[in-house]
């Protein structure tokens, strides 16, 4: 096995409540990514956090999340109180953070949003494509600074507002093998090519966001990788939606590794947008790194879960690098003859967190059932 550098790990900040964990574990990570919607919904907190990250010589970047405007807009809507009516009524409308994003991104996104529809590949002619790329670059490069300028207390530090470490090209989901996937692929390639040619000193990264089923056709997948390599962008992020590293089959895994090797051998850096331990292992096949949330986000579907979701509490089992449900863990404990915290720390995990939260004896079966 060749000696390869360690995988770069980026944390994706899903909400500001996760900052406490990020700050405590800064030394473990290469940098932090935030979604543009988080920046729009909490600009002050996000900008100050970005400064914190960058001051520690860690990378910081904003994911423009352009793909959301190419999908059903219901995914980015929420129910809010309609303040235009005197009687208390609810309305289902685009979240404010995405409304702001659409305004910032401009056409064709803003126009499509006004028409209450998603953008389509046909919305992007040559001129619109170039303008859109410029707008996406400017957004990521300048948005934090505009928040400095708008804040009386921060205005004088505006010049010191740092740039993000790199900038993502606009990207949309390629719904392979469903109708229209060729058009979305071609649009993404056009955007990547145009973006690569823009002036600007900040490093530009491309994103390939495609259904994981593409990995069933290795030859086609490799042709797509080759086409993106030819766009001239130096770095790529792969989002094979909704690839789950613990469940991926051998055919898909082989194709994924071949794709990564294609980028690597062409001298391009390549990251997995939503990865975990397998992505760390894939550094041996040329994967530069990956991003993930704090304790979640090792797999992500472009189609969000709608409605109220109770997150599954999972337990991380370090020897196998897997997350398993609490009920599975509970079932395993008596099988493994683990009857108290000492047994647990000795046989399973003695990390600081487990020592902090697992103490005493687990609840025993009641003698009379």
């Amino acid at each position: 096995m060749p000696d390869t550098p360690r995988s770069e790990v980026f944390l994706r900040l899903g909400s500001h409540s996760e900052k406490q964990y990020v700050k405590k574990t800064f030394h473990l990570f290469s940098g932090v990514l935030v979604g543009a919607n988080l920046l729009e919904s909490t600009p002050g907190a996000t900008v100050s956090f970005a400064l914190n990250v960058l001051s520690q010589n860690k990378a910081f970047a904003i994911d423009p999340m352009t793909y959301t405007f190419g999908m059903d807009l219901d995914y980015i809507k929420s129910e809010t109180i309609d303040r235009t009516k005197s009687k208390r009524t609810m309305k289902f409308s685009l979240k404010r953070s995405f409304v702001k994003l659409a305004e910032e991104f401009g056409n064709p996104v803003s126009e499509a949003v006004e028409e209450a529809r998603a953008v389509t590949p046909e919305d992007f002619d040559e001129e619109t494509t170039e303008q859109f790329c410029e707008s996406i670059y400017a957004y990521q490069a300048e948005r934090m600074r505009t928040y400095f300028d708008a804040d009386i207390q921060l205005q004088e530090f505006s010049r010191e507002c740092p740039d993000p470490s790199f900038i993502f090209a606009p990207y949309f989901y390629i719904p392979y093998p469903h109708a229209g996937w060729h058009e979305w692929r071609d649009l993404n390639l056009k955007l990547a090519r145009t973006f690569a040619e823009l002036d600007g000193e900040i490093e530009k990264h491309g994103v390939i966001c495609i259904d994981q089923k593409i990995l069933d056709d290795s030859a086609r997948w490799l042709r797509i990788c080759g086409a993106f390599i030819d766009t001239g962008l130096p770095v790529f992020w792969l989002w094979l939606s909704p690839l789950n590293e613990e469940k991926v089959n051998e055919t898909r895994l082989t194709a994924l590794a071949e794709g990564i090797e294609a980028f690597d051998s062409a001298g391009r850096k390549v990251y997995n947008m939503h990865g975990g331990y397998l992505s760390a292992l894939l550094s041996k096949r040329g994967l530069t790194g990956f991003s993930r949330g704090v304790g979640y986000g090792e797999s992500k579907d472009v189609v969000p879960v709608l409605g109220v979701v109770v997150p599954t509490v999972n337990y991380h089992y370090p020897p196998l690098h897997i997350r398993t449900s609490i009920i599975d863990v509970e079932r395993a404990l008596s099988e493994l003859e683990i009857f108290d915290a000492d047994d647990f720390h000795e046989k399973v995990c003695d990390c600081t967190v487990c020592k902090g939260v697992i103490a005493g004896r687990p609840q025993e079966p009641s003698p009379v059932r």
């Binding site: 009920i327 599975d328 079932r331 008596s334 099988e335 609840q363 025993e364 079966p365 009641s366 059932r369």
Partner: protein, 99 residues
């Protein structure tokens, strides 16, 4: 499927029904041992009769064969009283069924 027998002991039984994928059924039935006295996997007769019972008997999980035409159910392998059952799960399930 989950049930509680009438009577003083009020034993509980959980059944995982699956058409295929016996490994997944076995895994789920093993989890049910946390909340039931007896745990079974029920499959169509032609599938159940071809199952290798070793893994099931090692886990104490029973096998039920369901005749999909006549709806008759046959115990291919009886379940063993669960040693994994947790009082806090069982009492909550019984309470729910009695309501």
């Amino acid at each position: 499927m989950y049930g509680v027998a009438p009577g003083e002991e009020a034993r509980t039984v959980a059944v995982e029904l699956k058409l295929r994928k016996w490994q997944k059924a076995l895994q789920q039935a093993a989890l049910y041992q946390l909340c039931s006295d007896y745990s079974y996997v029920a499959m169509p007769k032609h599938v159940a009769e071809r199952l290798e019972p070793k893994a099931f008997s090692a886990a104490g999980i029973g096998i039920l064969a369901v005749d999909t035409t006549s709806k008759a159910v046959e115990v291919v392998l009886p379940a063993i009283l669960s040693t994994q059952a947790k009082g806090h799960y069982i009492s909550a399930c019984k309470k729910m069924l009695r309501r």
